[in-house]
């Protein structure tokens, strides 16, 4: 619970911080921390997804806010981008130092039925990521090249697996006496 609250407060502070140098320093610190803590998902992969978004944000800032000079507009875009990076990496850091069990345990105050739904959701997230990695690896070994056209060869088997898992889980719960 403490970790979750810390993450929420940290994200709130970051989103309200305006000093781009301080934000850059926090970003570098986070990167260093993620180097030490073994992360579930590689940091590079996360950055690869965020970089095009950051480029787009900076580009938008350069086109709009014409009343400011070019450097101010660039720095404004950069600040927004670095905030996005910090929040994203802090979630990654949080997930690396917190087990799914701890996250679910933080919601113990909720009614049983909602807790069960949460448990299943948290159980499913890493499962889906794991499954998608496995399927992607299998398809690559069959000669799949990355690109938009390759998405269906990962998504379709992934959906099959996820539905199969969900169906068995639902049958298991019912056969163990669960009633709505």
């Amino acid at each position: 619970m403490k970790k979750l609250i810390s993450l929420i407060i940290f994200s709130f502070v970051i989103l309200n911080l305006k000093d781009s140098f301080l934000l850059s320093a926090i970003f570098l610190l986070l990167l260093a921390a993620l180097k030490i803590v073994p992360s579930q998902r590689p940091v590079g992969k996360r950055l690869k997804i965020l970089l095009p978004a950051g480029f787009f944000i900076i580009l938008l800032q350069l086109f709009f806010h014409q009343s400011h000079d070019m450097m101010t507009r660039f720095m404004f875009g950069y600040t927004v981008f670095i905030r996005l990076l910090i929040v994203s990496l802090s979630v990654l850091f949080f997930m690396s130092v917190t087990s799914a069990s701890e996250i679910i345990a933080a919601f113990a105050f909720l009614p049983k039925k909602i807790q069960l739904a949460l448990t299943m959701t948290f159980y499913f997230i890493p499962t889906i990521l794991e499954e998608s990695d496995k399927i992607s690896m299998i398809q690559k070994s069959r000669g799949l090249r990355s690109g938009l056209s390759s998405i269906s060869s990962v998504v379709i088997p992934l959906l099959h697996r996820v539905f199969q898992r969900a169906e068995t889980l639902s049958l298991t719960i019912v056969s163990r006496g669960y009633e709505e």
Binding site: A100, T168, S170, S175, R176, G177, Y178, E179
Partner: protein
């Protein structure tokens, strides 16, 4: 219709029109028996297990004909939760069954649902029976596949059902783990539990099963006492079932 045991009376089932999974199945599983169910892939074995606690037709919709009775009660007449007290199910893939934070909570789930008493005693006894007592506080996801399968069995044992249904429980286990699982089942059977197990490895079935059901294309091609069924090698071959080797 005798009261005790599971009776399947002329059951046909298809998930979609034109794809019949079970075609006119009639059989009786007597209380206290060790019943093996085998057949080729797609012969309807897993679908057959889903009949035994009312999951078909109550939870899984499709074209269902005939009747299934557990201790004389039609599986259509009461909710699945009612049959969960007397029929425990272990599915093929333990990864798809476990979702709680600790092994203890996993076992508690069914016990709370069924409002059973002496929860702690039931949990420790069930874990003891499958040799997993020291894993009570472990996260089920961190266990090996064999250990997960034992936890799934413990979940069922904690509920103390009369009938234990297992769908290919050894499909993902090595020989030693499979043998250990069969020894546990054999012990349970000796204590009076009825075991219904779907299995491809007929060597295990020859050794442990008292009664056999052979399915082929959704129909029962052979059924009866295990020794008698396994002696009909020609029919077994026609049903695509491996002829078991007698243990030395």
């Amino acid at each position: 219709m005798s009261k005790k045991g599971i009776d399947i009376d002329s059951v046909s089932f298809s998930y979609r029109k034109g794809e019949q999974q079970l075609a006119g199945i009639t059989t009786k599983i007597s209380q206290g028996s060790f019943c093996g169910v085998t057949g080729k892939n797609g012969s309807g074995k897993s679908t057959f297990t889903l009949l035994l606690n009312g999951l078909i037709p109550q939870q899984i919709k499709g074209d269902f004909k005939g009747d299934a009775y557990v201790d004389g009660i039609n599986t259509r007449s009461k909710p699945v939760a009612h049959f969960a007290r007397s029929v425990g199910m272990v599915f093929q893939n333990p990864d798809f069954m476990l979702f709680n934070l600790t092994v203890k909570e996993e076992l508690e789930f069914g016990l709370h649902n069924l409002h059973l008493d002496k929860i702690n005693k039931r949990i420790s006894n069930a874990l003891e029976m499958v040799g997993m007592a020291k894993y009570e506080k472990s996260d089920p996801q961190t266990l090996s596949l064999g250990q997960k399968q034992k936890i799934c069995l413990a979940c069922v044992l904690a509920q103390d059902p009369e009938y234990i249904v297992l769908d290919e429980p050894t499909a993902m286990l090595d020989y030693t783990s499979s043998l250990h699982l069969y020894k546990i089942l054999h012990q349970l059977n000796k204590k009076g539990k009825t075991i219904i197990i779907v299995e491809h490895d007929t060597d295990f079935l020859l050794q442990y099963a008292s009664h056999m059901i052979i399915l082929a294309a959704g129909k029962i091609s052979l059924q009866g006492k295990a020794q008698a069924v396994f002696s009909k090698t020609l029919l077994l071959r026609q049903s695509g079932v491996k002829i078991p080797r007698p243990t030395v």
